[in-house]
């Protein structure tokens, strides 16, 4: 009974420290998206290279694809861009670009300067489609399955680790089903 007097507060303290320790390594900017496992929000947007043509998620049904949200003004997009260019060369999965709150000339020049890994980029000039997709920090990357359901969301730049460990294994698994 006497030991309990000391062990009980100690126990509480250890639990508290445990919570705080785990909290140290979590990024408060990564808010889990309610859109994961929900159908991809519909849109019909003009294509960046040819605004007379449009594209929407329904055109991509039947295949696994990535939606990468980018902008010419986005600094961390430059960090992940070489990875996307590399990924595009392997032809594993089509990447669709969502040119978010940008202008067509600036977007085109950015792709000319940095390489264009996108099968198609679509123009979301006023950011409305971005809101539908719950975008709040560019770059963001979504994995969409064959039925048009969002299966994963990456907030912030893709790193080689999460591309190899998360995104690509998920894409391969979804392509099999």
């Amino acid at each position: 009974m006497k030991a309990l007097r000391f062990l009980l507060p100690l126990g509480f303290f250890v639990i508290l420290v445990g919570f705080l320790y785990v909290g140290l390594f979590r990024d408060p900017h990564e808010v889990p998206s309610p859109l994961v496992d929900k159908p991809a929000p519909a849109f019909r947007l003009a294509q960046l290279d040819d605004p007379t043509k449009q594209l929407g998620p329904e055109d991509l049904k039947g295949q696994v694809w990535l939606l990468n949200v980018w902008a010419s003004w986005c600094v961390s997009c430059r960090v992940e861009h070489p990875l996307l260019v590399q990924l595009a060369k392997t032809n594993v999965v089509p990447v669709i670009g969502l040119n978010y709150k940008d202008t067509i000339p600036l977007g085109r020049r950015w792709l000319a300067d940095n390489g264009d890994p996108y099968q198609v980029s679509v123009v979301d000039a006023d950011g409305r489609v971005g809101i539908d997709w719950g975008v709040y920090g560019v770059p963001e990357t979504f994995v969409v399955d064959k039925k048009g359901v969002i299966r994963y969301k990456q907030i912030g730049p893709i790193t080689p680790e999460n591309l190899q460990e998360k995104i690509l294994p998920l894409v391969r698994e979804l392509q099999k089903s």
């Binding site: 808010v31 998206s33 309610p34 709040y136």
Partner: protein, 160 residues
């Protein structure tokens, strides 16, 4: 005269710039939008409300909220619209549901636990006093001489 005109022009320019951009719309809607955007979180600068934040996304979301309100959507519908896209995190006041029970009721549980510990400790200590384990305070020798001196001093001043 020239100086006066310049001053008047400057004053007019300041007045115009101070006017809110949407001054022409009705005040009831403005008031509603203000309260609503104070209950919503900006996701870019997370400790600011949608009303406080000047981040581009906050501007877009304010525009979206305004349009939804103008379409006749209720506050609950507007919040639902944002929660569907950004999750419960956009709400400054999280909804009460099983995953947030700890958040809502945890502090009261701690309060109750503290009260319980306090009660138990008091009872134990109270029991001891009643059984006479702890003697009533008896003045020590020092205190006794001190009191005697104080009394002597008092008597002295009272004297004739």
């Amino acid at each position: 005269m020239k100086r006066f005109l310049m001053a008047a022009g400057l004053a007019a320019a300041l007045l115009v710039s101070a006017l809110p951009a949407h001054a022409q719309t009705d005040p009831a809607l403005e008031a509603r939008l203000k309260t609503l955007s104070e209950e919503l979180r900006c996701l870019v600068c997370q400790n600011q409300t949608l009303a406080d934040s000047s981040a581009p996304l906050a501007e877009d979301l304010r525009r979206e909220v305004r349009e939804l309100a103008q379409q006749g959507k209720s506050d609950a519908e507007i919040k639902q619209y944002l929660v569907a896209r950004y999750g419960d995190f956009v709400l400054y006041k999280p909804p009460v549901k099983p995953t947030t029970w700890l958040l809502w009721f945890g502090p009261f549980a701690f309060l109750l636990g503290g009260a319980l510990v306090w009660f138990v400790v008091l009872r134990r200590r109270g029991g001891r006093v009643n059984h006479g384990d702890v003697p009533e305070s008896i003045p020590t020798a020092d205190e006794q001489t001190g009191r005697a001196r104080a009394q002597a001093l008092l008597d002295e001043t009272k004297g004739p």
